[in-house]
């Protein structure tokens, strides 16, 4: 066994200023067990009094080798690993991975499955933003926000339980469609949510948007310029709060997003408060998409009937020899993918969630790379916090919306 070395200054010598070596500034360790790092993130801070001079994030505490593990599993079985990446966006991770597999093997998805995917992913986007908003409030001492946000999130998780049997690790979206059709109660549950949620958004806004305690800690803090955001590969709401109109749902529509009428909120300020306002508006836009998708939810199959890739339903197995063979082959050996690689990306609540997937001609992937948005979004934080107070660092970190499972994989 190798022993873990205690952190020493030598390791960070090239990242800190001269003044830290003479003892003029202080090196302070923040995390990995700290409530406002939103997981297990360790920050080494160089402080001049209470001003941050340098910030060195140290990640990898939650690294579980998901990409390596996926190489040892068939394409279908590797999907369960994607739930564990970004545990606030499980449906979105499923969708990103499944879309990449479908593109690799050239598999079509029936329209009903596409609409269901859109509804669930947008619900997940709301749930993810709710957790962000709740913890953000908590970080800035607005305790009641957390309780309100989790009340609504619970309603969404109940819908997920209704369709998939699981609240968080859903694996509901599968190659070729979704696992099974939604139950009859689904429509009412979503309609109830759509009815109640606009009022709740107004409630959150009453609590936070004009609250001087909240606003004072955010306006003008952590300014992210357009150029810096693009150079660092920052995507999603953070990029849109910096004045770049870039949303993959609009720019490169997938799963029939082009049929729905919605706006992409863009603000030019680029500070912490702008990132907050963008997300509040995204609640409303997601609701619009869900409502339209639910109104024109087509009838029909929810899984492709291409039996070379999609297992037959249980009812066929008892009566069809072929179905039984397909079932057996698909769940033991799995389907084969061509020896090629593709990249496909979706807009997750945090930004561009891309999947690079390479087949080797067999039933297992040669390589799966999850381009997780939090990783690149966190990389820009050291630039944002320079010159701010430690308390502002907490606000900035919350506004970037990182999930450590997403970063460390």
């Amino acid at each position: 066994m190798t022993q873990l070395q205690p952190a020493n200054v030598e390791q960070y010598k090239h990242l800190i200023s001269e003044r830290a070596l003479t003892g003029e500034t202080m090196l302070l360790n923040m995390g990995p067990q700290h409530p406002s790092t939103h997981g297990v993130l360790r920050l080494v801070l160089e402080l001049d009094g209470e001003i941050v001079v340098n910030c060195i994030p140290d990640i990898g505490f939650l690294h579980t080798g998901i990409e390596k593990n996926m190489e040892a599993k068939t394409f279908q079985k590797a999907e369960v690993m994607t739930d564990r990446l970004d545990y606030m966006n499980t449906m979105g991770n499923n969708l990103a991975y499944v879309m990449a597999v479908e593109k690799l093997i050239d598999l079509d998805v029936p329209p009903r499955a596409q609409a269901l995917r859109v509804i669930l992913v947008e619900l997940q986007r709301i749930a993810s933003h709710l957790v962000l908003l709740g913890t953000w409030g908590l970080d800035l001492a607005a305790m009641s926000m957390f309780l309100y946000c989790f009340r609504e999130r619970e309603q969404i998780l109940d819908i997920f339980e209704l369709v998939s049997g699981q609240r968080m690790m859903t694996t509901y979206i599968r190659p070729g469609g979704v696992w099974r059709d939604v139950p009859v109660e689904f429509e009412k549950a979503v309609r109830d949510f759509i009815k109640i949620f606009p009022k709740r958004i107004d409630e959150y806004e009453k609590l936070l948007t004009k609250n001087p305690l909240f606003v004072d800690r955010m306006v003008g803090i952590g300014h992210l310029s357009k150029e810096m955001a693009l150079s660092y590969g920052v995507t999603g709401s953070n990029l849109r709060a910096s004045g770049v109109n870039w949303d993959l749902r609009k720019a490169r529509p997938y799963m029939g997003y082009e049929q729905y009428d919605f706006d992409v909120p863009v603000l030019t300020e680029g500070d912490t408060y702008a990132r907050y306002l963008v997300r509040i508006e995204e609640f409303r836009q997601s609701l619009r998409i869900i409502e339209q998708a639910l109104d024109k939810l087509p009838m029909g199959p929810v899984r492709s009937d291409n039996r070379k890739f999609v297992p037959p339903p249980r009812s066929e197995i008892g009566v069809s020899m072929e179905a039984l063979i397909h079932h057996f082959k698909l769940w033991t050996e799995g389907f084969h993918a061509p020896n090629a690689s593709i990249y496909s990306a979706v807009e997750s609540p945090r930004g561009e969630l891309g999947v690079l997937i390479a087949g080797d001609g067999g039933p297992k992937p040669r390589r799966v790379h999850m381009r997780t948005p939090s990783f690149d979004n966190l990389a820009v934080v050291p630039e944002l916090v320079k010159g701010h107070l430690v308390a502002d660092l907490v606000a900035i970190l919350a506004s970037i919306d990182i999930v450590l499972g997403d970063i460390d994989r």
Partner: protein, 170 residues
């Protein structure tokens, strides 16, 4: 291939002798290691590819030349185009010039590639491991790095596996 992407690929072909492949409508350009920085700079400055959204690698072990592909996925927001550059690299401890001077995305993503594949980026300002502990030997995402399952102990190999167990011996 999309019409507006054709002149850009042509520039890469003429300037750097790049070859391109198309698969499911995706364009993948092969660029030699010595040209990659220049290619990225030209694409960013002259063709509005201002977002490097993905930087990763694939290990084609047991194939040795090239063993790795380093992949740069570029996006042009203005023209809504995407283009993939691939750099084939050879050998056990390959080296590439760093792209951090062109896109800051490389600051962390190149550290990740170094950590996982052992591809060194020359001139990187902070060449440390990022996800794995510094003490780890080897590079986990290489195809010849074992996954790390425990070998089951049977009567025929009991002694052999017992020797490797970490508990205290008499």
């Amino acid at each position: 291939m999309e019409k507006s992407l054709e002149p850009i690929v042509k520039v890469l072909q003429e300037k750097f002798g790049a070859t391109f492949e198309e698969f499911r409508g995706e364009v993948q350009c092969m660029v030699k290691p010595e040209h990659i920085i220049e290619a990225l700079t030209i694409l960013r400055d002259a063709h509005h590819f201002e977002l490097l959204s993905m930087l990763s690698a694939i290990d084609y072990f047991p194939q040795t030349s090239p063993r790795f592909h380093v992949i740069y996925q570029l996006n042009s927001l203005e023209k809504n185009l995407t283009l993939q550059l691939r750099v084939p690299v050879e050998g056990e401890s390959p080296k590439l010039p760093t792209s951090t001077g062109v896109f800051k995305t490389g600051l962390w993503r190149e550290r990740e590639i170094f950590d996982m594949f052992g591809i060194e980026f020359e001139g990187h300002p902070d060449p440390r491991r990022i996800l794995n502990p510094d003490e780890l030997e080897g590079h986990p995402l290489r195809r010849d790095f074992p996954l790390g399952y425990e070998e089951p102990q049977f009567s025929f190999n009991y002694e052999e596996i017992d020797l490797g167990k970490p508990y205290a011996k008499e």
